[in-house]
């Protein structure tokens, strides 16, 4: 379970989060939606302790997160931008992260799932964006943590990889994990998520099921429902 209390974050004068309260119960897939720059990544990074908020608390499984960040051993994280040390090989990178984390991992299965066998000795600098994202996915899913946080997991993926990703997420969900995900692909969100959270102007604007959002906005599909919220708030 993840709980966020009164989270405030600004970069310089730029206020991004202005009092986010959110409770994400155990088990299931929760999508965080919101326009570009609404602070989804900032919120996720606050949960991980990579961003230091001015105010507010984060609890994981009932315990307040400690600044030393050791609680991250219960979190698997996929960063939005797959930035890797370019001079390392794929295999080297995986080995290094395993060594640093000190837990066992099932990377082989994932390497096969995403068809990365042929890339293991290639330097990360020489990989295409989509292939890098697959490596990113392997790193995020290879540890068996109870909470998984995915920031834009679909970016750059081909349709086959996309299908595999969906299967993978479903499999992890079936194990009873809590999965937090952001995405701009509404069909993906609609297909996988149990509940959505909509972030707007620094606060949680909506939290509930997709069905509830449809009823609230009177729109049938998610894309239109979101557009509805946005135009209403601009007017």
């Amino acid at each position: 379970m993840i709980k966020i209390e009164n989270l405030h974050k600004k970069y310089g004068k730029n206020k991004i989060l202005t009092g986010v309260d959110l409770e994400i119960p155990e088990k299931g897939i929760f999508a965080i939606l919101g326009p570009n720059g609404s602070g989804k990544t900032t919120m996720i990074k606050s949960i991980l302790g990579m961003v230091v908020p001015e105010k507010g608390k984060v609890f994981i499984n009932g315990k307040e997160t400690h600044p030393n960040g050791l609680y991250r051993k219960n979190l698997d994280y996929l960063p939005q931008i797959a930035n890797f040390p370019g001079n390392l090989g794929v295999k080297e990178l995986i080995k290094m992260i395993k060594d640093l984390r000190g837990t066992k991992a099932n990377e082989d299965e994932l390497i096969e799932l995403f068809g990365l066998q042929g890339y293991l000795d290639k330097k990360l600098n020489n990989l295409s964006g989509g292939t890098k994202q697959k490596v990113n996915l392997v790193l995020a899913f290879m540890f068996d943590s109870p909470i998984i946080i995915l920031d834009e997991p679909t970016s750059g993926l081909d349709p086959v990889a996309m299908l595999n990703l969906k299967r993978l997420i479903a499999k992890e969900k079936a194990k009873g994990k809590t999965i937090l995900v952001t995405s701009h692909i509404m069909s993906f969100v609609e297909e996988i998520s149990d509940e959505i959270v909509f972030l707007l102007e620094g606060k949680i604007y909506f939290k509930g099921s997709i069905q509830e959002l449809r009823e609230k906005t009177g729109e049938i599909d998610l894309e239109h429902a979101i557009a509805h919220i946005l135009t209403e708030n601009n007017a």
Binding site: M50, V52, G69, L70, G86, L100
Partner: protein
């Protein structure tokens, strides 16, 4: 932290630049010994090179490593590792690999030349200790500058300016103020000015040990007069240690507050 240190250290000693640095010291050591044909004289020449060059290399490697390992750092920040371990580990990885190049690069020629049978061994050891201290200090200062500056070009420029200031401009300003304020007693001012520059401190430290009053210069003479030789040595070394501890402590505290 040790794991991070290990990765940074081996990452660096695999790099081409470490070899260039090592080769440079090997060459310098052999050439100096060949030209001077005398261990103690070579030590003095070496001092003049070390107190200028070691800070420059520490500064450059420090900023360069910080910026070029940004991706590595980001990856580490998402792992269950303390921030202080990440940054201090990387810092020590850089600083220790530089110290290793220095000690091996200079040590080897001097040992081959018969350092162990020579009276210059203590002077030489102090020289290496001072070089190590300067490496630790300037790498730490470079890390600080990089932590405060997202922009690589800016960070790099500030770091070079800092080196230029402490290695060259500081002495000029100091001399200028001595001339301008001739009629005032300047002992205290001199003492304080020296303490605020690790390069000056290092120079005095070595010259006190070598016991060459002719080379001490005004600042060194004041220092000597104030502390005496042995207390002077100890206090100079103590202040250099402080110059290591404070920037390292600031790396830790700044890293704790930074967003990634």
């Amino acid at each position: 932290m040790l794991k991070i240190l290990k990765y940074s250290f081996f990452d660096l000693i695999r790099s081409r630049w470490s070899y260039v640095y090592l080769a440079f010291y090997l060459l310098l050591g052999f050439v100096l010994l060949f030209l001077n044909n005398d261990l103690s004289k070579a030590v003095i020449t070496l001092m003049n090179v070390i107190i200028i060059l070691v800070p420059l290399i520490g500064t450059i490697f420090g900023v360069m490593y910080y910026y070029s390992s940004k991706e590595f750092t980001e990856l580490l920040l998402a792992q269950p590792i303390k921030r202080s371990s990440i940054f201090i580990g990387q810092y020590l990885g850089v600083a220790l690999s530089l110290v290793m190049s220095l000690v091996i690069g200079l040590g080897l020629p001097f040992i081959l030349y018969g350092l162990f049978e020579s009276a210059a061994i203590w002077d030489f050891s102090l020289l290496l200790v001072t070089g190590a201290m300067l490496t630790l200090i300037f790498t730490a200062l470079a890390f600080n500058i990089a932590l405060y500056n997202e922009n690589k070009i800016k960070g790099f420029s500030y770091a070079i300016l800092l080196w230029l200031f402490l290695a060259v401009i500081y002495d000029g300003l100091f001399l200028l103020s001595l001339i301008l304020f001739e009629e005032y007693p300047l002992d205290k001012f001199t003492l304080i000015a020296t303490v605020f520059n690790p390069i000056d401190l290092s120079r005095i430290l070595i010259l006190l040990k070598l016991d060459i009053s002719a080379l001490l210069g005004y600042t060194g003479a004041i220092f000597n007069q104030f502390f005496g030789t042995s207390l002077g040595l100890i206090s100079a070394l103590g202040m250099l240690t402080l110059w290591v501890i404070l920037p390292v402590w600031n790396i830790k505290s700044k890293a704790q507050k930074k967003d990634f």
